[in-house]
Amino acid sequence: MTIDISVLIGGEAGQGIQTVGLLMTRTCHRAGLYVMAVNDFESRIRGGHSFIQLRISDRPVQGPTRKLHMVAALDERTYGLHQSELTEGGLVLIPKDHADTMTQHHRCKTVDFEGVAKKAGSSILANTVAAGVCLSLLGAPSDLFENVLKSTFNQLEEERLAQNIQAARYGYTAVEDETFRWSWRWAMASPKGRLIDGAQAAAFGALAGDCRFSAFYPMSPATGIIQHLVDMAQTVPLVIEQAEDEIAAVNMIIGASFAGVRSMTATSGGGFSLMTEGLGLAAITETPIVIVNAQRPGPATGLPTRTAQADLQFVIHASQDEFPRFVFAPGTPFEAFSVTARAFELSERFQVPVIILMDQYLSDSLFVAEESFEAPETVATYTAADDPEAPSGYRRYALTDSGISPRALPCKGSTLVKVCSDEHDEEGHITEDADIRDAMVTKRFAKLSAMRKEIRPPEVIHADSEILLICWGSMRGAMTEAVRRLRAEGLSCGGVHIVDMWPFPDAAVGEILGKAGKFFVVEQNRSAQLGQLIRQQTGYQYTDAVLKYNGRPMCAGEITDTIKTKLR
């Protein structure tokens, strides 16, 4: 049998919805199942509507779906909002009887989550009750769930843990007499890979890149990455500073990097806007920095807690004048890990800024990552050793063929390090000389050819297909599933996923697309920004675009539907 079940747990902000999701996800993961969990919440602390949607399968899952098999509604609103997403025969658990629930399309079962929770000790346990109810219906062994509770809440006092376990048990018994049509026998297997969200993966990646300093200003959905760094900083030599604003944050990491530690910041589009001047400072002073932009919909404040991929062109062109930079867009937690580590390495090697484009969906969703997350044994150093014999001969911006000048550190020897945001000469002094200006622009751009060699080509599946879907960043999972489904329907369809966005892999993309009859870009923005870039860099014009920009992650089904319509 193939399992592919979607469960949604919804309620108000403050009801602990994310915790229900986390507990259930862990339970599935521990049973050796594949699972992912997508968080959907509003920009508020209490009330409103939030939910978490789980997809559970015995085969790898990479993206959300639209069709739900089970809905656990912790409040009454949830039912109304998600009713239409239920698949035929689906099951809804609602807190109170509803007059309008008696359709034939799906079943409704009343569970008084709060009432049950009170019996276990407190109404705030309603979320644990709900987890118990759902897991029971799915067929999950109750001791498995209890173990998950124990390891999740091992920081709590005994009493509260016991209450949670009680609540879980009451949840199980509350639906004893109910069956869930798609429940399955939970054959316990060893867990598949690692359960991780993109934010934590990026934080691990930063440590693998030897990040020592991070300055930030809180901004959804970037805060998760920093929170993970803060949690990890307890045991590693990493200092994290909350700045007064994003301008301070980016300049602090520039100062720290200049002084000799690898440094990063994370923000979202509005904060990135404020960092654009600093980006140029890093560029002209050739100070390595890594900036994560966790995208959300805008313009301006937009939809603070939701997802988008609409900052691509902006980050490629951000800051006045021009300079080489890397832009990466990981598509999975493992890519977030490895790309972040690489970002530090490349930033330092080439003395250029690196921007990593993440988004709310990738950052906040839980995935099963089967790749192995390895700590590198060593991290290279690219700073120049001091020459105590001839300290005065040192020139921070010495002209070289590679464009890379030896980078010494201030106060680390007898050499003086002089950097300057005006156009400067080799020593780092202000210059107004036209020829030196030319030489310095040429020097900075000279790095590009070696930078291009670092760019990894897109990953392609079913390259020799008539139709190609091409996407970037977090669209990887949904696109991959869409390709699989379209092929299952007999279409000659392949998929292309780009992580290394800039310098754009012109040749590789051109070659891939040159062979396809038609190609469609798949993106979470309004203007098909990857499509624009492809045309600019390769001359190829996309056949059509599959776009979504309402802040919710795109599902494979939406892609396949759109493609089929467009092909008609």
Partner: protein, 285 residues
């Protein structure tokens, strides 16, 4: 023994002849040499403006950064390597205008840097617009009807924000200025030295003579630890401009308070894979 010659730079100076910046430059050299600090142990961070060009005219490590952003750059650098002596060369526009927010928050952090604010009460490099410290009513080409705002009072602001070292110098009093800079560097924590400085090209009001007529060293019996007394001096409504140390009170600096920085600089740690490995195997998310 370090001498002022060690701080000599051959890079041609960009300032106008007669500018107050020259006095500040000399005082810096003599202060640094006087403390026996060699150039390679000193980092000067500056923003953008005439004042911010200072480090080019000295011999030292420097980061000549963006307009207004010297303090966050200095903060980052100090955290990375707190063993450096960090000075900030900045202008009144740089520090109190574009960089005003960083000024407030660097003080709150008590980051151990010495800020030399070359306060000429005008935007020099951009040709004479009013600055935050320009006097109410001062006319410029850009403010032909005169400035309409209370001048920013850097000393009062720094005091009210909790700065532990607040002083005022004058570019024309090199000896005093040099000892203020030394005291500022010796102070462990944020030190502000607001330095009154004539701008011969654009400030026709606050001239050398104007200052000479008004400045006077703070009286001997002033209690440096008394915040209210310092505020009284800073907010004084008569014509006199007291120079010297308004307030001095030490408390642990930002980097003193970060436990992991106590023994060695962040730059001196080595990457240790076992630490990450431990985190990577550490159970659940």
């Amino acid at each position: 023994m370090v001498s002022t010659k060690d701080y000599h730079s051959d890079y041609p100076n960009h300032w106008c002849p007669g500018c107050g910046n020259f006095g500040i430059l000399d005082a810096m050299k003599s202060a640094l040499a006087g403390l026996d600090l060699p150039p390679e142990k000193v980092l000067i961070v500056s923003g953008i403006g005439q004042a911010a060009k200072t480090p080019h005219f000295l011999q030292c490590n420097y980061f000549h950064s963006l307009h207004g952003r010297a303090l966050p750059i200095a903060t980052g650098a100090k955290i990375a390597n707190h063993l450096m002596t960090v000075l900030v060369s900045t202008g009144d526009g740089d520090c109190y205008g574009e960089g005003g927010n960083h000024f407030m928050h660097a003080i709150r952090r008590n980051i151990d840097v010495t800020v030399l604010a070359h306060n000429n009460r005008v935007y020099g490099l951009t040709k004479g617009q009013a600055s935050p410290t320009s006097m109410d009513g001062m006319q410029t080409k850009m403010q032909p009807g005169g400035v309409i705002a209370n001048p920013f009072n850097p000393l009062a602001a720094a005091l009210s924000l909790g700065a532990g070292f607040v002083a005022r110098g004058f570019s024309g009093e090199g000896g005093q200025l040099s000892s203020l800079i030394q005291a500022g560097i010796r102070h462990r924590g944020f030190a502000l030295i607001d330095i009154l400085q004539p701008c011969v090209s654009f400030n026709r009001v606050n001239t050398h003579k104007w200052y000479k007529d008004r400045i006077a060293p703070i009286e001997e019996n002033h209690d440096e630890t008394d915040l209210i007394a310092a505020l009284r001096l800073a907010l004084g409504t008569d014509d006199r401009i007291p120079t010297g140390i308004y307030h001095r009170r030490e408390s642990p600096s930002y980097t003193d308070r970060i436990g992991k920085l106590n023994d060695k600089a962040l730059t001196d740690h080595r990457y240790r894979p076992e630490l990450l490995k431990a985190l990577l195997t550490d159970g659940y998310l």
